[in-house]
Every structure is written in C-alpha cells, then in structure tokens.
Amino acid sequence: MLILLPVGLLLLGSLAIFVLDLTHPKFGSSWLIAVVAGIAAWVVIFYSRLQLPTLLDLGTWQAPELNLNGHFSLLLDYQSWPYALALVTILLAMVFTDAARTRYDSSPRAWSASLVVTALGLFAIQSGTSLTMMMAWVLIDVLELFHLLRLQETARFNLRMIISFGVRMASILLLFFGTMLGWASAGDFDLTQIPTRAGFIFLVAAGLRLGVFPLNMPFLQEPVLRRGAGNIIRMTPVAASLSLLARLPADLITPELKPWLPLMMGLLTLAALYAASRWLSAVDEVNGRPYWIVAWASLAVASVLNGVPQSSIPWGIALILPGSLLFLYYPRIQRINFLLLLGLIGILGLPYTQAASGWAGLVGNGFSVWTFLLIIAHGMMVLGYLEQALKPGGEAGALESWARLVYPLGLILIIQAMVALGLVGWPGAFTPGVWWLGLISNALIVAVLLLIRRFGVIAPYFQLPTSSRIRTVSDWVLPRIEPVFRLEWLYRVAWRLYHSLGKILKLFSSIMEGEGGILWTALILVLLIALFTGMGVN
C-alpha cells in the first residue's frame, strides 16, 4: 500500500483545496495544504527507496468464464522510482516557488489541478502493466485537454492543442496495439518482462508521445499558463512516457528491425539537433520548453535504441529536474541566480554526477556518427541552459517576506533531488560513466564559449549581433528550412492523401447509394464471388 499512499495523499490534498476554495477561499490555507500534501508524498516516496521493488496488485480481468485478459498493478522499482521522486519534487518546488508568483498564475485551483495531475502521473509512472499505463495515460491526457481548454486561448492555439491530443491518442493506441501483440505472443505480461514483439511498438508509443519519434511538435507556442501549474502539466505526461522507455527490453531491435536502425537513429538525431538548435536560439526558457523536452527525450530514446534502456533514466531526469529549475525560476532574482548554475550538475554528464550514466546509452555498441551528432546536440543544450541561467535578475524586494524564504527553498529542493538521484537513484547511478564522452562534450562546450568570445559574443547572449553577416544569412535560411526539420510537410502530405482517399470513398458511396445502387451491389457481389472462387474457396 506504500505505493498508493503518495497518490492518495495528493488526491486528498487536491480535494481539500478544491472544497476550501469553493466554500471559504483562502490563499494561505490552500497553499499550506498543497505544501503538506506535497511534503508527505515526497517523504513517502523517498522512504520507499529502501523497499524497492514494491509491487501492488490492483485487480485482474482474467476469469475463465469471461475469456478476458490483463491485470492491473503498480510497481515501484529502480526504473520508476527516480521519475516518481522527480515528479513529486517538481510539484513541491512548484508550490514553494508559486509563493513568489501570486501576481501571475498561482492560484488554489491551479494547485488543486497540479496535485491531481501529479497523482495521475505517479500512477502512470508506477504502472506495472501496459493496461494500467494505458488507463493512466488516458486520464492524464483527458485531464490535460480539459484543463487547457478552460484557458481562454485563441482558436489557433486550441487547434494545436487538439492536434496534440490526437497525437497522444495515437500513442495510447500504439500502446494498445503493442499490448495486443504482446498478449498474442506471450499471454498476459507485466512491464518488467515486455515481449520483444511489443517492445518496439511501446518505444514508438513513448517516442510519439514525447514528440521525438517521429518528430512532432504540435505546440509551437506555450499556453498562457506557463510557469507553475503549466510546468507540471507539461512535465507529467513526459515523465509518464519516460518511465516506459526505462522498462523496455534491451534486445528491442530484432534482426528484422536491424536494417531500419540507421533510419531510426537518423530521424532521432535530426530531432535532437533541430530541437537543441531551437533551444539555443529560444527567446526565453518557457518559449524554448517544447524544444528542451524534445532534445533530452531524443537522447533517452537513443539510449533505448542502442540497447541500454537504463541509460534513458539520467537523460529523462535531466529533462525534468534541471528543466523545471529553469522553468520555475520566475521572477528572476539576481541574488539567487547562482542556483541555476547548480542545475548544470544534472546535465553536464561529468563523472559521478547524475547524467554520467547516460553516456553509455549514446555510445551503445560502439562510437558512431550518431553518437558524435548527439554529443553536439548535448553541447547545444548545455549552452542554451547557460544562456538562460546567466540572464540578469531583479531585486527580491518585491516579494513578501515568507515568499523570500520559500521561493529559493523550492529551487534548492530540485538541486538536492538531482544530487540524491546522482548518488542513489538507480543501480550504477554513481559512476564515472563513459567519462571520455562527457569530456568530449564538455570540451566542445568550452571551445564554443571561447570561440564565440572571439566574435565578440559573451554570455548570456550567445546569439550573434544583428549586424553580423552570418546572422543575416541564418535569419533568412532558418525559417525556410525549419518546416523541413519539423516534418510538418510530411504530415501535410499525409493529410492530403487522406483527403484524396476521402473524396474517392465518397464518390464510391454516392454510386452505391444512387439510383443504380442495387445493380452495383449485384455486380460487386458477383465480382467478390468470382474473386473468392479464384482464390480457391469452393
């Protein structure tokens, strides 16, 4: 029952805030409830590290008289625990830092929604079977859609939102399909023993959901709810997908799929490079958030394709924790800007830091051109992070006294979670890793920093001056080649094909439903009989 306790605590907290907000709206009391629920859930999850793995059976559909398959369970193990801790950490950090955003987007309703979303996220992360995960994904997606629709956004944004929902649905259907194939080959299974036949489909499901495989980015802009609850709502589905990656089998790429591996790695690397470059050039961290997610997720997926799914965890955690450190850091306060630099611990990949064990996933069975390109993507991500981290901040005077205390506390919480995960997050977390890859990447970063300094560019503004000729050329070229990288042209072609198919089918329907429809029916019947007879059906 330890697994369910954090979920229950968060739901209880959410309900309490919701009821309180309906009856006696009190900002402070609601905030306190959110903090207490968050801390309690965090403590339980942290404590459960001592009892890994923990399994809880929730029920089964199997019964001889029904002929149904499948069961529900929750599993907290070395694959899911880091994500569970990371998710509750950013929730708690969100509530703490929201104290400083009372003039912006923090509200009891937003905390209530965040607690529910996090509870569902925990449910998804801890899913022991694909059936449980499907249910959790559906709940998260429907809730997210509902929440985003409530924001008074423009129709154009809403359209992108529904497309995004459609992509999520597609990922759920892929999970459905994979489960179907898995059951057909191995009967009912849990996520610790995913059949190879289902594994690749699960990878595509998670990749699609993360927007990397194939690259898809329905959101080119972020909704109005951007920082506090907005961050939780963006990160929870991501964490739920990443936890599936960590559970995929190492022998995912079967001999039949081997010839397709270069294409898959190529698409993935393209996604990583494109997203990293956009992150590097993003106006601010929130505008760059979709690219941040895609780039780190690409590294996680690459680890799985290279046969080292365990290495997807450090990249996944790099996505969630240091990312949230940036996204929750608002308003910026000059005196605590240094905290953002501590977030580098989670992404640099230096030996014995949290991301060090991720390099093994990029190198896989040997160093290749893909490894090199992914290292470049990693370097760009770090540079982009540095750019955002080094931006100047304001004064703390505008904050209330209690907010001045808890605001940095939220950020410190994220940093200490990074350190804790780097030490004891999963077996082999505290490791030098493939240290020379980290060295190459960090050397590249330093080289770039030195190089751009020679061009007169200094941190935090890594972009070239507007007067620069290279900048002029890139400003003209980049917007034109961007749609190519985003693969939107491919989706447009598919959409047109679908419309053409629709036209043909509608024409066929109008013939069948027209005056001569019965004659057409008779003709088709004769043709079908002739076809079946020709196929040997007597």
């Binding site: 029904l66 002929n67 559906v138 809403n158 019965i518 019947l525």
Partner: protein, 470 residues
Amino acid sequence: MTLSTPIIWVVFPLLVAAICAALSTRRILSLIIASTAAFGLALLAAFMPENLTLSLGPLTILVEESLAFLGRQITLTYAILPFIAFTYGTTGLWLLSSNLPGVPVAFRSISLVITASLTAALGVEPFLYAALLIQTAVLVSVPVLASPGAGSERGVLRYLGLMTIAMPFILIAGWLLTGVVILPPESPLIGQSAIVLGLGFALWLAVFPFHSWVPMVSQRGHPTVISYLLFIIPTTILVFGLNFLNRHAFLRTSETIFSIIRTIGVMMIVFGGVWTSVQDHLKRAFGFSVLVETGFSLLAIGLATSGGLKWLLMLFPVRALGYWLWGYTLARLEHRCGSLEMGEIQGFGRRLPILSAGLFLAQMSVAGLPLLASFPIKIALLSQAVVEGTTIGVLSFVGTLGLFLFSIRLLMNLLQPIDIEDTQFWFLEEKVSQFLPVILMLVALVAFGLFPGFFTSGMTSILTAFPQLQ
C-alpha cells in the same frame, strides 16, 4: 391457470404497444407506460426462477415455456431469458429518450412491437418462421424511419428491399438444411446451403456490398430511432444465427466457414473504419461505425473456437450503452444545431460542452478507448485475432482507427469557430435535464470499462441456450 413465457414477453408487450398507440397524444403517460413495461419485463426475465408456480389464494398460476399459435409453437426457454432481459432492458433505455424532440410519436409502440417480434423469432418452432418474424420487425420499423419531408424514402426502400430479399434466402437455406443431416460430407448441397444461408445473413447484417442502406437511413432518420434499430435488429439476428451453429454440426465444425466469417468480419471492420474516418456527416459516420461493429461481431463468431462467442455476447451491453449515448447526444445536438454536417457544428462544443463531450466519449467507447466500456473485450478479441493470423489482427486494429480519426476531427470542429484568431470563450447553454443522462451514461461506460467481468458476465450465460456451442 397456465401462463407461458411467450405470453409474458411477446403477447403482453404487444398489448402495451397497443395501449401506447391509443395514448400516443399523451406523451408523458405513454412514455411512462412503455418504459415501465419494458423495464418490468426485463427485470422479470432477469430474476424469474425456473418452473415458477404462483399461488394467489385458490388460484395457482403455472408458468410454462411454450405457447401454441396457429399450429406453430413459440418456446422461450429459461436459458434464453437473460437475453430477453437484455433486449427489454435496452428497449426501456431507448424508450426513456423517446421524449426527445423529433422522435416519432409511434416510436414507443413500434419499439415494443419490434422487441416482441424479435423475441418471438428467437423461440419460434419450426425455427424457420423466425425469418418471417424478423421481417415483421423490419416492416413495423418503416413508419418510424420514413419521417415525412426528411427525404428518407430512398434509403428506407433500399433497407426494406434488401431485408426482404434476405428472408427467402433464409427460408431456402432452412429448407436445404433439413436434408443436410443425412447427406454425406462431400455432398455439394452442404456447401450450397451454407452459401445461401450466408447470403441471407449477409443481407440481414448489411455486410458489404449490401450495406448501402445503413448510411442512407442513418443520415435521414432520427438518431434515437436509428441507434435503436441498428442495435436491436443486428443483435437479435446474431443471436438467432447462433441457432444455426448450434443445430448443424457441419457448420460449427467447419474451419473453412469460421475462416470465411473471420475474413468477412475483418473486411467489414476495415471498410467501415476507413469510411467512418472520411465522413463529414455525424449521422452517416454513426451508420458506418455500425458496420464496423457488425464486423467485430463476425470476427468474434469467426473466433468461436477460441471463446469468441463469449466476446460476441459481452459486446452487446457495452455496444448498447455506446449507441444509446451516441444517439442521445446526436439527437440533442441536431435539435440545437439544425444540421449535423461537420461544417455546421463548428464551435458548438463551447456552447454545449457536456453534450459534445458525451458524443465524443460515446464514439471513443464504441471505438475501444482504454478506460471505456468496449476496451476490455475488444483488446481480448483483437489479440486473439493476432493469434489466428497477424494480418487479420493488424487489419482489424487498423479498421478501429477510423472511428478514432473521425472523433478527433469531430473534436476539432466542435471546438473550432470560423474565425481562427478569435479568443475562445465558453457559453454554457445546457440544462441539467439535458446533460444528466450523459453524465450518468459516462459513469456507466467507465464502470463497464473498469469492471467488465462484473457487468457483462451475465451475458455469457446466454450460451447455455445453445448447448453445442458452450
């Protein structure tokens, strides 16, 4: 005194139908009478003990299973009562929504007549007469389909024509099958009788290429009426079809026949799914989705040797809930929007959010979205289809995507105003009485999706009526 099950579930509903017809101008009263009768009959069928004898003072009422009628016999055994409970329960459900604007006044009485005719069809002896009773149900349904001025005549004529053509096929097949028992296995008559029977059922179930009436009727008819008819008639025909498998060993032991049924089922799922995905009219999409569901039923029968008949029966209640909600929300939306063309409903989701959500989730439930009612059964069915052949399984899965794609398009249109740069606001225009049924049904769909065993296991007991198929 002797009472019989056919008197209770065939004659009595006909009487109630006559009363409802007489009281047709008093809508509320006839609604209460019809739905109370339907639910009462459903409860009675569900809980009636075997060999019931009622003693009321000096009067002793013995309930028998048979009733002689014009030299024929209608026998409703206790084993088939769960199915009868189900059909009357679902009829009652549709009757509850018969007060929606636009539902023909005659729907109450006609739906009871249809259910009574179909119930009689399940128990008539010689069982060939079932074809006549099913034809009666079809004929009786015409007045509620052909609403004046709706332009539905052509579709209804097509429906009537094809369903009527089916009847002689079934009668001839039945006649041929009586002699098949004594024929040697290599006799060509066996194959011929199976083909004739298959054609009859294909016509009844609107199997491609006999499907054209379904979207035609569906587009012009009232959603409540259409959803009821497209549920109750195919469902009863499918159960009636089990009779043939139960009676004739050569049918139930022939792997070829099951393989053909599977292939036709997959074909229906794929064609129906692809057609659904490209529809621009919400009611036509419903019609094509019905074809997909027929495909799933055939696929389940085709997998009978692997327990497919259980899935077939378990799909009935979840389908009923999905169709009901689909029909209800379509009826409400049509009343508010005037037209159910995709282009005409743009932005209505912001004015009628719960009805829109109900429509979307009804479609998703029928399609098999996890957490909703059809999912547990469909995933089991599809995984077994993969076991039988990867192509069959994959194609069936692809077919199911059609409704998902259509639903996403629907969602886009419901939430999309004509001016794309406008900021979106919500204007709730729904009344509690309008959306409460939607919410209750959504709760039911989720409950069925989470606990399929609890809610649908009763349906599998119907198989006891077909001892050879258990």
